[in-house]
Amino acid sequence: MNTVIWFAQLYIAVLAGFVGYQMIARVPPLLHTPLMAATNAIDAITVVGAMVLAGRGHGWLATVLGTIAVASAMSNVVGGFLITDRMLAMFRRDSGAAAAAKAAASNGRGMH
């Protein structure tokens, strides 16, 4: 691997780490569970590397391992984004009539 490319990668990793640190340090504890689910979903971008491995046709072992890798990463893509969205949809601000209506609706549900 070319040294210039390697240093470019290092720059990107360090800068992304700094940006990530600054942004994520401001995520309120309220959203720490969705944060973990979200970073886990985004992290499943390894699916891209696995796809290359599974589709490159470099020997049966690499293809088998690649296919398993695609499946496990993809389960995080689908499951991770769905569950993050499910969670985030639940966080609501307390606001006037809308909240009151919601409260009434969920009371009805709670009585069953």
């Binding site: 990793a13 599974a54 496990s72």
Partner: protein, 466 residues
């Protein structure tokens, strides 16, 4: 050239969408929209990859994508919010499994494919870190999931020379890694390192008790990120490096936050030796000779009905009893009678960071009513009743005044400052850390024994009659 531009452009767009997605998580109002954009970024990256000229067959890719989607859908839609910690743990396993398999296959191909080109020293650094952190997390996180789900004992498993064995194995794995940097072609060493790391994942989680799970999950979050970033280095793929760095940063920040909230040092966390704290529980003061004051449902309901301010302190017990709906109903009843209800959330309440917030949001409690420790602690002295539901260590005064206790120094919620404290508890068994809680023996503390869901149900019907 043209196709490569499409792929690189796709990765560029998805990198930006990922960063914006994570940034949106700084506020609950923007978060959902932002994460939907991040999901779009993922779609762009996956579709873009299909244009890569290296790919000669789509059959296995498509099979993998379909199987993954079939596994992923139930994990996303059907898992209840109470099971979120084990859900996150199993997804760390899947994520790091993908990274490790890619690493192992790349290494194998470099030496066994004709023409064998071998692995350069720099490339070995990336591949080595990838499989080291990856395979450690595969088994470690699976064990964590087992402990949370109950198919592995939740108690810490302790045996002689445990820390010495673990640290020794870790040291050998690191030595192997450095040896490979010098001699990348030592294939036996490479595979032995993978096996050792896999084994270490199991052994390092064994001694960790249930109460330490928030730290463990955060730590594996960071490890998964490091493995993904290393994969990016190995494959020369910038979007992987960026997302890995984001994930690593989030895991690092959460680990630090959790260890602060438990008053453990960060080195303690990094080397996984934090479970041993529970072993020292024997030193805690014994509560023999003290008596607790049980309270009837009627009296408890009376107190809550006439309270002006009630602070509810949820803990893991609320998740276990799955009684968040009843908590919501009770808080509505208190409010209908003119009282004010606030929720006090300790950073390590539950089994993962933010667990309680998600459960309360699930039952439509607006997030403005969920208070963090720093914000709520000054308010306890104005509260008429502090209602503790399934929380134990996070309200244990031993953290403040008993230097021998394993949780000494841990910041806690000041429930004692409320005019009266009602504790919902199954029985008088000590909490998961095995520590006596003196709060239960204080003069103003009343114990309402029984399953939290049952007790709340009775409280609710009693409140309606008051």
């Amino acid at each position: 050239m043209g196709r490569d531009t499409v792929v690189l452009g796709a990765y560029f767009i998805s990198s930006i969408l990922f960063i914006l997605g994570v940034k949106s998580l700084t506020h609950p109002d923007s978060a959902r929209r932002g994460m939907q954009m991040a999901a779009l970024g993922m779609l762009v990256a996956i579709v873009g990859t299909l244009f890569l000229h290296e790919i000669v067959t789509f059959r296995w890719i498509i099979i993998g994508l379909i199987v993954g989607s079939i596994i992923g859908y139930p994990l996303g839609m059907w898992v209840p919010m109470t099971a979120m910690p084990e859900r996150i743990a199993i997804s760390h396993t899947f994520g790091s499994l993908a990274a490790s398999l890619v690493g192992v296959a790349e290494y194998y191909n470099a030496y066994n494919l004709a023409p064998a080109h071998g692995v350069a020293h720099i490339e070995m650094a990336a591949l080595g870190l990838e499989v080291l952190f990856g395979s450690l997390t595969v088994t470690g996180s699976f064990m964590a999931c087992g402990k949370l789900q109950g198919f592995v004992t939740e108690k810490s498993v302790i045996y002689p020379f445990q820390n010495e064995t673990n640290i020794g194995m870790f040291a050998i794995a690191v030595l192997m890694f450095f040896y490979l940097l010098v001699v990348p072609g030592a294939q036996l060493v490479f595979y032995a390192m993978v096996i050792l790391a896999t084994l270490l994942g199991v052994l390092m989680v064994l001694p960790i008790g249930g109460a330490d799970m928030p730290v463990l999950l955060s730590l594996f979050n960071a490890y998964t990120g490091l493995a993904a970033a290393a994969t990016g280095f190995a494959l020369n793929n910038y979007v992987l490096i960026i997302t890995g760095a984001l994930d690593g940063a989030s895991g690092f920040i959460l680990s630090v936050a959790m260890s602060k909230a438990m008053n453990r040092s960060f080195t303690n966390v990094l080397f996984g030796a934090f479970g041993s704290g529970a072993a020292a529980a024997g030193e805690a003061r014994s509560a023999e000779g003290l008596t607790v004051k049980p309270i009837t449902v009627e009296d408890a309901a009376m107190q809550l009905a006439y309270a002006r301010e009630v602070i509810i302190v949820p803990g893991y017990g609320m998740a276990v009893a799955q009684c968040q709906h009843q908590v919501r109903e009770l808080s509505d009843l208190i409010e209908r009678r003119g009282g004010e209800v606030k929720f006090a959330i300790h950073p390590v309440a539950g089994r993962m960071p933010g667990h309680m917030n998600v459960l309360l949001a699930e039952v439509d409690i607006p997030y403005a009513r969920l208070y963090g420790m720093e914000d709520i602690n000054p308010e306890f002295n104005q509260a008429d009743v502090a209602l503790v539901i399934g929380a134990n260590d996070v309200v244990n005064p031993a953290a403040k005044d008993s230097p021998g206790s394993p949780i000494y120094g841990m910041p806690i919620l000041n429930v004692e400052e409320a005019r009266s404290v009602i504790v919902l508890k199954r029985s008088m068994n000590p909490g998961f850390a095995g520590i006596e809680n003196e709060l239960f023996y204080r003069d103003k503390t009343f114990m309402l024994f029984g399953d939290a869901k049952d007790s709340l149900g009775k409280l609710i019907s009693e409140m309606k009659n008051v």
